[in-house]
Symmetry: C2
Subunit: 257 residues, 2 copies
């Protein structure tokens, strides 16, 4: 039975997509069957694998969510053997407004995923930078949420609101929702601010914080322009190694070693 992990944080630019793309690739390379879902209308995770976002509605996740289409038709190969991708689609922009008037609007994704959960070991969902209905749907469908936190001051500010939202979802929509872990991203050890923020995060989240911290590494931001995760673009890079370490830590917590 696949574990569904949402990558969420309403603060913009904290490394949600970079984490979704690279953790999905690192899990797949360890031969666990993985599905990456890009539910952000910006479609960055989709282009992070060199896939088209397309503007027709047929065979897209939008079609699955809004018109009850088959999820199997929307899934595309990633170029990595054990990894499939459910690409984003420009129509997703209108999804929040469409969802507002649907019955059980927070459960639409949970229902859509019923058909595929047992075909994957891990399902990773990349969320947009907001706490709107798309992110609420992802948190309701997920078993746990992985929270990337950029090593910057503004990134600390939104954490309280995110935790509030998670406990509201747990209380009313998805009682099993846990925090998978908190990941410090874009960490530059030369900056005092980065060390201070990382310490604050550890004080606040204690053992929920991964021992692995993703260091700032230009290879991570170059890889998407080549349409591939860091481990295919430059396997020897710091960025690629950090995400492989993160995957190892996730497996250890799951007893998958």
């Amino acid at each position: 039975m696949g574990r569904v992990i949402a990558i969420a944080n309403q603060k913009g630019g904290v490394g949600k997509t970079t984490t979704a793309v690279n953790i999905a690739a690192s899990i797949a390379i360890s031969e666990f069957k993985t599905l990456l879902i890009d539910i952000d209308p910006q479609a960055n995770a989709t282009s992070g694998f060199g896939l088209e976002t397309g503007d027709e509605i047929e065979n897209t996740f939008y079609n699955v969510m809004v018109n009850g289409g088959e999820i199997r038709d929307a899934i595309k190969p990633s170029g990595l053997e054990y990894l499939d991708v459910l690409p984003s689609n420009v129509n997703l922009v209108g999804m929040e407004v469409e969802l507002v008037n649907m019955r059980e609007r927070e459960y639409v994704m949970q229902k859509a995923l019923k058909g595929v959960r047992d075909q994957y070991d891990y399902v990773i969902i990349d969320c947009p930078p907001s706490l709107g209905l798309i992110t609420l749907n992802s948190l309701t469908a997920a078993d746990s949420v992985l929270i990337p936190v950029q090593a910057e001051y503004y990134a600390l500010e939104g954490l309280g609101k995110l935790l509030n939202t998670i406990s509201i979802v747990r209380k009313h929509l998805n009682p099993k929702l846990e925090i998978e872990g908190v990941l410090v991203t874009m960490f530059d050890a030369r900056l005092r601010l980065a060390t201070q923020v990382a310490e604050e995060v550890k004080k606040f989240f204690k053992d929920k914080v991964y021992k692995t911290c993703i260091r700032r590494n230009v290879r991570l931001s170059e890889a998407p322009s080549h349409g591939m995760p860091a481990l295919l673009y430059d396997a020897q890079s710091i960025g690629s190694k950090d995400y492989l370490d993160l995957a190892k830590e996730i497996f250890e917590r799951d007893g998958n070693i």
Copy 2:
């Protein structure tokens, strides 16, 4: 008659708030009367000036937009003589849903600003990372939009969609909306990727791109933790100087020198 400039880009973490806070301060220091409006529920621009976001509804912009309250009651001093701030408020999170069912929902902010536009030379609006109703309201109320673009690959991807939205707003909601300018942010000249992205931006936007480019500078990300813009935190910093140069460029384009 005040010029209203929205700082917008749906891509997260590209420097919208850092630009809004520091350009507002740089304009005010040149003795032009300035109002900074924080319409992002994250309230980063509000804390960038050390102000409280508060959770009561009285005397907030939410109250002005949803209940027709007086905008004058929601404006707070910033600590800089010629700069006032209209702080964000936690209730703004619910604003998008409230707006969906209001009459003329895209014009609510335009109407709310009627009472104050002529008391300021410049009104700066910090937008959230989305193209939802809050950002649409800001683009409808604005004379022009300043687009920060982070010197990163993913930041290039969303520009087409943002330009689409701007032309839709110009066609149906606000015929006078112009592009104030495109600002390259977090530029690190040592990285090939940054130079490549900056060149793409110049090719795409031509003379709309400011000559001033905001360099990556840790003082800009330290300043918000002290509740002040960079020019008060460290006036000699690269970040502070870059934003003063940007203000000068804006004045030259306006003939305000």
